[in-house]
């Protein structure tokens, strides 16, 4: 309930500054040509709004499956899959928010609908003729590699699993909406790239 309340508050605050969420009035001399009452696109807000006014609930939040708690196993599994590390509780909480957004899709009926992978579905995919191409000169192949040994790329020793320590407070992550202290990313200083390779 707390979260719902917060969302209602946010949109009220917005409404007071730029007119969003409110009925609109045209420029002087203009007629109303398009719907002047806003439509609620945010499933979550929509539900709580309806509940609050005790109107018929069109989309029932209880239909959404429960948010699975995030545990240390999932964090370490995702770090190994992604080959990137979470840098804070907030980063894991962000993942939680992305999942929550995706959960809205549970409310759409897609029975008998085929997935759409691409725009031109009936287009035949052309294939290249099997003709040898001019290979890149060796120096161009290597010019972007940080480490080179003769004509080989170099990597450190393999077959060592990525270490992924438990280092986050899972309670903070799973209750981020109420106790999290989000920090916004900061812009860097404007500069040109050095472009040392020509």
């Amino acid at each position: 309930m707390n979260r719902f309340f917060k969302i209602v508050l946010t949109s009220t605050r917005r409404a007071s500054t730029n007119g969003s969420g409110k009925r609109k009035t045209p420029f002087e001399g203009d007629k109303v040509h398009i719907p002047d009452e806003p439509y609620n696109s945010k499933v979550r807000f929509f539900i709580c709004f309806k509940k609050k006014l005790k109107h018929g609930i069109q989309i029932d939040e209880s239909l959404l499956s429960e948010m699975p708690p995030i545990d240390a196993k999932l964090i370490s599994h995702l770090e190994r899959l992604s080959l990137v590390r979470f840098d804070s509780e907030q980063a894991v909480a962000n993942l939680r928010n992305s999942i929550r957004m995706a959960k809205r899709l549970e409310l759409v009926d897609v029975e008998d609908v085929e997935p759409m992978h691409t725009v031109w579905e009936s287009q035949e995919c052309p294939t290249f003729d099997d003709v040898e191409e001019e290979p890149l000169p060796i120096d161009k192949v290597f010019r972007n590699a940080a480490v080179r040994f003769d004509d080989f790329f170099v990597t450190p020793p393999g077959n060592v699993p990525l270490e992924s320590n438990e280092r986050f407070d899972l309670n903070v992550i799973n209750k981020w909406d109420t106790i999290g202290k989000p920090v916004a990313p900061e812009a860097k200083t404007i500069r040109l790239a050095e472009g040392r390779r020509k």
Partner: protein
């Protein structure tokens, strides 16, 4: 030649706006001389730094690619240069095209030039992710800027800067040499000062037909170019989807949208209010599909053959993970994690497959609407450009609010253009309106945009 020199002069004058990541002035001069020798009039062009160029570095505004120089040019770069385009520089963007603020890249933010800046620590957001390209056109540095558009990355900055941004039908412009974000949504796009110019540059870049190097590229049929031309708004069927007046739309954006619809009516267009009910799930659908593709597209950055390489050298995985964690910004890392989650064995069906099915519903709904109407008219964004401080204070959540209006065109693959229609009441900042048409009706779309721009 004079136009090229004046472009270079302006680029230097606007340096504090962070428009370019690499300046390629000598290259532009060489290209201008070559054009003149061939009897072609040279014109200045800016290229978003996610298109490969074999002379200047291509960084995607990331530390990961800070020193990366590609062995080839993107197809559309080749084609524009062959027709007189002179590349003034590679433009700044949101890191790997993820965002609509152009604020958090490795080479600093892009700052809008629509108004005098009042403080060095705060600025008007130029939109994104093609923010540098949009400001390069708005400031008069170049005639054409190449952008890319995966969820609105060209139309959004066009609206915020008071210029024109055309995302053509998917596949019309070759993606060869565009660093991929979401393969089935990515459209190379055009930023210019009129709808007519947008079309002219689109024609130049498609005149040699499809690109064999991009298996998803399609031809804009010759007959559709002429037969679909529109010379008057009389009888034009215009659709207004009610879902585009959502709870985030500002009074400013609504008033201008309403005024434009009034003008269309006055000119004899038949306006119908329609409903596209799946629109409210569109952003969720887009975010899942985008994250999944981002996770696999970003997997190529392993720092071995190219890319930022960490000093950490204990094991291969350690080196991969540390290099990537050091050099990719929080926005990029966030999408990689989300994408890998949606791709996990136990969640793939639940999220990715579901999103791909919702994508079909959205597509069917929109294509059905084009049986009834010729053009859809909507806002391009919730309102005028915010300030950096406003975005930071809301943890950049407003970026999603603006995506709501633009990403559906990418899911469906239809052409869409943002045109400038006026200024906000309080700050006098530009406001845009978006026009969308059926697939391959790019010519008709530009015609309507051009006629409309002439009478507002």
């Amino acid at each position: 030649m004079q136009r090229i020199e004046s472009a270079i002069e302006k680029a230097v004058k606007f340096r504090r706006h962070g428009i370019f990541i690499s300046e390629t002035f000598d290259l532009a001069r060489t290209q201008a001389r070559e054009a003149i020798q061939k009897g072609i009039t040279p014109f200045p062009v800016a290229v978003k730094d996610c298109f490969l160029t074999n002379t200047a570095n291509t960084t995607c505004a990331s530390q990961m690619l800070e020193n990366y120089c590609a062995p080839v040019n993107a197809t559309i770069v080749e084609r524009i240069v062959a027709n007189g385009g002179c590349i003034i520089g590679k433009t700044n963007l949101d890191e790997f095209c993820m965002g609509t603020s152009s604020a958090l890249g490795h080479f600093g933010p892009v700052k809008s030039a629509v108004k005098e800046e009042d403080s060095p620590d705060d600025w008007i957001i130029p939109g994104g992710s093609s923010g540098g390209s949009a400001v390069a056109v708005q400031a008069g540095i170049v005639d054409l800027a190449l952008g890319s558009d995966t969820g609105g990355s060209t139309r959004n900055p066009a609206a915020f800067n008071g210029i024109y941004g055309l995302k053509p039908t998917y596949g019309v412009l070759s993606r060869y040499g565009l660093i991929p974000l979401v393969n089935s949504l990515d459209s190379p796009s055009i930023l210019a000062t009129s709808a007519e110019k947008c079309w002219k540059y689109l024609e130049i870049m498609t005149s040699k037909g499809i690109d064999a190097a991009d298996s998803t590229s399609v031809t804009l049929p010759e007959e559709s170019k002429e037969s679909s031309r529109i010379s008057s708004l009389k009888g034009l069927k215009v659709g207004i989807p009610i879902e585009y007046h959502n709870e985030c739309l500002s009074e400013d954006a609504w008033r201008h949208w309403n005024r434009i619809v009034g003008i269309l009516k006055r000119e004899g267009a038949i306006v119908r209010v329609i409903s596209l009910p799946t629109t409210k799930y569109s952003l969720a659908c887009y975010s899942v599909i985008a994250a999944a593709d981002v996770a696999s597209n970003m997997a190529r950055y392993d720092s071995v053959a190219y890319g930022h390489r960490s000093e950490k050298n204990e094991s291969t995985y350690e080196m991969y993970a540390t290099s990537r964690s050091e050099s990719l910004n929080t926005v990029v890392r966030r999408r990689i994690f989300a994408g890998n989650y949606f791709l996990m064995k136990q969640y793939r069906k639940l999220y990715l497959d579901k999103a791909l099915k919702v994508r079909r519903l959205i597509t069917d709904e929109m294509l059905a609407a084009f049986n009834e109407v010729d053009i859809l008219v909507t806002p391009t964004a919730t309102g005028p450009a915010p300030k950096y401080s406003q975005l930071r204070d809301t943890l950049f959540s407003k970026e999603d609010d603006d995506d709501y209006f633009t990403q559906a065109a990418n899911l469906v693959g239809i052409p869409a253009i943002s045109i400038p229609v006026g200024r906000s009441d309080e700050d006098g900042l530009p406001i845009g309106v978006q026009l969308m048409a059926n697939r391959l009706n790019d010519r008709a779309l530009c015609d309507v945009a051009q006629i409309l721009s002439g009478i507002i």
